[in-house]
């Protein structure tokens, strides 16, 4: 099992804000599942994953000899995958593995969602460019993860801060990787699920820098960020690094994915500058309207759908109680996030704003991501409400300080990512609030600094921004020589 942090369900003694109906003091180790006995043994072996067969066999033998001390029988490792397929544990393994694969596909759908959101909230003259960037990011994110990221993020034994990566892959016949001796799913499933997460972290930045960043520069920036930087912060927690040792808790990545992306985006936007004409003299902000509210709404609904895999799959098994619990907390936070942002934006801005409501859904989802398995029902409601409120104020705030973020990525992912992580310390006992603050700030800080360095280096060498003329005419023509809507002339072209 790659993940040091046991992302199974944690029921802890509830704090005062939690639902009194929650079973108390119950450790949900899925005690009916004999898999976890093997799991515990393999957890010990995890750090030696890359060593030779001989050492592995020796350790198995040692543990077998010591088995009376554990007070239970260890199932023997399987002779072959086929032997495993004949065994009793195969059916459960298949179900668990299937859910993880479905979750990976659901996380993939988030790229479709993000493409729609970004396209809808920006101008039609830049649509081809935005779609091209989104297409590129998911592809390079996964490939980079294969070449370097996966092994850098889950190195086994390491110094806790950084491990270098390598080409991924194991032997298909390796029984310790393809059976429940590894986890509730195969090594390949582990890879693809994690690879989808990596790709989503990269795509957060593309929304914030839209409509003025040079394509080639962005492609290099995104490749470097997701391939080399994302695994570093990921290893700190999910790879068993220093944050994991401090007891930091990030169930599905409010910090490791969302705050990471949000603060990387912030640094990039600071170096890049706002779109021309966005901030006028006298503190006036000129709204640059998105060209398709339907697409934006469709995108948000798709992201919501994908989040069922993002959070649901992070249970790392198909455990009925665990996954169903996460589905409910996730949904509640999304719903209250939207309601809160609708009410707040209506009160503040005098009219109900669709795009704020849509951002509220995402804010709630980002907020619940750190603690979907550990916070109570009332906790998830509060998390959504506060995230939905925060995001409205944050979007207005960033415009006030002249940080131009066309889709609200910094507010949704950065600000609410931090909130979601800290909320785990408030609404559950999974980790103390101090550690949560430390963890989320250090992840955000590294993302910010790394992105800043990358952006400045690229600005100085390749140039970060398109020319003013090209920005005016639209990146579709400037970068691609193409139009997204050749059959009609939408209102604000040229």
């Amino acid at each position: 099992m790659r993940k040091i942090q046991d992302r199974g369900i944690h029921w802890h003694t509830p704090c005062f804000l939690t639902d009194p109906a929650l079973p108390q003091g119950l450790v949900a180790d899925n005690v009916y599942n004999p898999l976890l006995d093997t799991h515990k043994i393999i957890m010990k072996l995890r750090s030696q994953q890359l060593t030779s067969w001989l050492k592995m066999a020796g350790i198995f033998a040692l543990l077998a000899a010591l088995s009376p001390l554990f007070g239970q029988d260890e199932p023997p490792p399987y002779e072959s995958y086929d032997a495993f397929a004949e065994s009793g544990g195969f059916a459960l393994f298949t179900v668990n593995n299937l859910w993880l694969l479905i979750s990976a596909a659901l996380v993939f759908i988030m790229h479709l969602g993000f493409s729609c959101v970004e396209t809808g909230l920006t101008q039609s003259k830049n649509t081809v460019n935005i779609l091209f960037k989104n297409l590129f990011i998911v592809c390079i994110g996964i490939v980079g993860y294969a070449f370097w990221g996966f092994n850098s993020m889950y190195p086994g034994d390491f110094n806790g801060f950084f491990a270098s990566g390598s080409w991924f892959g194991v032997d298909n016949d390796d029984v310790t990787m393809m059976t429940d001796a590894y986890a509730a799913y195969t090594w390949w499933t582990d890879f693809i699920f994690q690879a989808m997460f990596a790709a989503t972290a990269a795509t957060i930045v593309s929304g914030a820098v839209a409509e003025r960043i040079k394509l080639g520069t962005f492609m290099i920036y995104a490749t470097l960020l997701v391939t080399f930087i994302y695994p570093i912060t990921g290893s700190w927690q999910w790879g068993g690094g220093w944050l994991a040792e401090k007891g930091f808790y990030d169930f599905a990545g409010s910090s490791l994915v969302h705050a990471f992306g949000g603060f990387a985006a912030l640094a990039a936007v600071l170096v890049l500058g706002p779109r021309n004409g966005k901030y006028l003299a006298g503190g006036k902000v000129k709204p640059i309207l998105g060209h398709s509210m339907p697409l934006a709404a469709i995108g948000v609904f798709l992201l919501w759908l994908g989040w069922y895999g993002f959070n649901g799959g992070s249970v790392l098994s198909a455990d009925p109680r665990g996954v169903s619990y996460v589905f409910v907390t996730t949904t509640l936070a999304a719903a209250t996030g939207a309601i809160a942002s609708m009410i707040v934006s209506w009160a503040l801005l005098k009219k109900p704003d669709l795009s704020m409501g849509l951002n509220g859904v995402l804010a709630g989802l980002v907020g619940i991501t750190a603690g979907a398995d550990s916070v109570s029902m009332s906790g998830s409601l509060w998390i959504g409400v506060i995230a939905g409120t925060l995001v409205v104020f944050s979007i207005i705030f960033f415009d006030k300080i002249k940080i131009d973020d066309p889709v609200g990525a910094i507010s949704v992912h950065g600000v609410c990512g931090i909130w979601g992580t800290v909320a785990v310390g408030i609404f559950s006992d999974a980790a103390p609030i101090g550690v949560q603050i430390l963890g989320t700030l250090s992840v955000s800080a590294l993302a910010f600094v790394a992105s800043l360095v990358l952006a400045i280096a690229l600005k100085v060498t390749m140039g970060l921004r398109v020319s003013a003329d090209e920005e005016n005419e639209g990146l579709d023509l400037g970068e691609h020589g193409a139009e997204a809507y050749p059959d009609f002339t939408p209102a604000h072209k040229g």
Binding site: N472, L477, G481, A482, E483, T489, H492, K493, G494
Partner: protein, 112 residues
């Protein structure tokens, strides 16, 4: 009364509108059009083949003004709509026979 027709670059519309408002012209009609003069179109490429798009998006602004402000209005439009680059557009002045305000039945300059 004269009808002034100005073809300008779309992103210049706000500027022209504000400049006209400053000299006291408050009403106008705006249409999105496509056109070209001496400005060449641009080349695009689709799935390996190049093609030229000759017609470029422009905005047509139509204003009716009394005779005594025609000169000032034209100058304002030219100044606000100029970028110095090819494709800035043109202004035409057309004689007008009659104008009527629908709400009040006023005619002539009172209707402008």
């Amino acid at each position: 009364m004269k009808l002034i027709i100005a073809i300008i670059k779309p992103f210049k519309l706000e500027e022209v509108k504000e400049a006209l408002s400053e000299i006291g012209i408050e009403g106008m009609t705006v249409t999105e059009v496509k056109g070209f003069g001496r400005q060449k179109g641009h080349t695009e490429i689709y799935r390996g083949s190049e093609y030229t798009v000759d017609f470029l998006p422009k905005v047509k602004v139509e204003i009716v003004v009394p005779d005594d402000v025609v000169g000032k209005t034209v100058d304002t439009i030219v100044k606000a709509g100029k970028t110095g680059k090819i494709g800035d557009g043109k202004v035409f002045v057309v004689g007008l026979e009659e104008a009527v305000r629908i709400r009040t039945d006023e005619r002539g300059e009172a209707a402008i």
